[in-house]
Amino acid sequence: MVATTQPDLSALTSRVRQNVVRMVYAAQSGHIGGSLSATDIMAVLYTKLLRHDPQKPDWSERDRFVMSKGHCTPVQYAILAEMGYFPVEELSTFRKKGTRLQGHSVLGKPGGVDNTAGALGMGLSFGLGISLGARLRGMNDVTTYVLMGDGEQQEGQVWEAAMAASFHKADNLVAIIDRNRIQNDDFVEKQMDPMPIGEKYRAFGWAVREGLDGHDFAQVEEGLTWARDTKGQPACVIFETTKGKGVSFMENNPGFHGAAPNADQFAAAMQELGADA
């Protein structure tokens, strides 16, 4: 099972990373670093866990994915296109006039985008609302996954939501933290260190897994599956990741949080990502 699926995930994540870089290069704006750090998590989530149907994005009993770090649309759109929600060619319209693919997530544009985002810190609350609604509807199979950044943990609303989710025993809610250690201006620990994040979620009544490698498909699948199957309390899984993963000069480089590559950087990045010449 693992032996046959992992090569597929490698190919998928290579294509997604290439498309992330292509989109931001073509738009000359956008957020590469946090997209590349979340690529492997997103790929495992969409191929292994998420119950969804790209042909029926409004299917009421689908699992929900809430992109709370809403600037990381490049990876979200690239994954959705790979899953068949819309043609991969449309990725070239990213951030351009008339596009459905705005710089930050817009609910329903395209189908498969389940929330509007951009201002940080709101996604966990929005996902909690979905979770409470799914439970009230008796849709017991519906899991809501919320992807946040580690810098995002500085937002106070995250902790309002953390408190409420455990109070309401929202065990159909999964918080995923992409711990890539870099935020807009600098390294997270230099800006406003939110650590220890895991201890905080535990103190707020969550089940927590941390220390997992967010670029190891098996560890990502294990962590997400554990979080999905946790009962009686909400679950938070923290993945250690590398900002800009896959492109050597973008890795761990705060300069590639929200900056676009130039032509030389683009060519080098695509070569490293294994794109055809």
Partner: protein
């Protein structure tokens, strides 16, 4: 004069009973709260439908974002708190509710200066401007408890975001026999040809009292209850300008950016006439009783009478 007038009531009192009635009538409601359900009256719903009630504690940002998420599961979500605390979550309301055009009904109570003794920080005088600046939002300011109930029902029956503004002070009932509140339609409470008083919320009874005083000196004032602030009944405004030639706008809200400013903008391009504004005079409040605050802020029938006379005097 043998008929008994209904007892004065605060517009906030309509929420809980109306939500219970709507749910019993087959609506698919969820009610969220941020530790003020007793004051907003929403908490009565919890007693009847505890599974449809979600408490968020004193955490308005979380409540409004979660309300948005809940609405995506097909529920009609009512989220209520005090007006000033809704302002605390403006970005959440903007990005999670207004932009995606979700089915969340925000009922803000204790609005305006009539909240009184709690003082300036508790007195919301800018909420109409804030919510009217959010696309997709309908903004309703009921004039009495009957119209407040109608506003909640209208919101439940109309998809998309609403803001309904209610107050704490007990006010005279204007619609004892019921009201037909319509989106984008002013309700003419009194016909008149010399001046029009456009009023909302607590200022509607005061406008009616002012019209009575004006009538004693031979001035016939039209009174429009503009409960539907957004969408605004521009046709009624143009008709008022055409028929009466002078307009006074009365509101318990800051003058700079309230209903008066919206009416002036509408008329400036269609049919400009002399206008006067009875509103909070671009300052913050202070402690005092409701009636003392209304006096301090210049929001009395006497102030409306004076404004009407000024507007009439400026007619050519």
């Amino acid at each position: 004069m043998t008929t008994t007038a209904p007892a004065p009531a605060a517009t906030r009192e309509a929420l809980g009973p109306t939500l219970i009635r709507l749910q019993n009538e087959g609506h698919d409601l969820v009610v969220v709260d941020a530790d003020l359900g007793a004051s907003t009256s929403a908490r009565r719903f919890k007693n009847e439908f505890p599974e449809r009630w979600f408490e968020f504690g004193a955490a308005e940002q979380d409540m409004f974002s979660a309300a948005a998420g809940l609405s995506t599961m097909g529920f009609t979500v009512f989220a209520s708190t005090f007006a000033v605390f809704a302002e605390h979550a403006y970005d959440q309301i903007r990005m999670n509710i207004a932009q995606p055009n979700l089915n969340v009904k925000i009922v803000i109570s204790h609005a305006g200066v009539t909240v009184g003794e709690d003082g300036a920080s508790a007195q919301s005088i800018e909420d109409i401007a804030l919510f009217s600046s959010l696309m997709n939002f309908r903004v309703i300011v009921p004039a009495d408890v009957v119209e407040a109930a109608a506003a909640h029902e209208l919101a439940a029956k109309t998809p998309g975001p609403f803001m309904i503004r209610t107050g704490r002070s007990r006010e005279r009932v204007i619609y004892p026999d019921g009201v037909r509140l319509q989106l984008g339609k002013a309700d003419m409470l009194r016909e008149g040809t010399d001046v029009t008083i456009v009023a909302i919320g607590t200022m509607v009874t005061r406008a009616l009292d002012a019209a009575e005083t004006l009538a004693n000196s031979g001035i016939q004032a039209r009174v429009l209850n503009m409960a539907s602030v957004r969408p605004l009944d521009e046709d009624a405004l143009v008709a008022a300008a055409r028929d009466t030639g002078a307009i006074v706008v009365a509101e318990e809200h800051i003058a700079l950016t309230g209903l008066g400013a919206m009416c002036a903008q509408a008329l400036a391009t269609k049919l400009p006439v002399p206008m006067e504004f009875v509103a909070v005079p671009n300052r913050y409040g202070e402690s005092g009783t409701s009636s003392e605050l209304m006096e301090i802020m210049g929001l009395t029938p006497e102030h409306i009478v004076s404004a009407a006379q000024s507007a009439i005097a400026r007619k050519r």
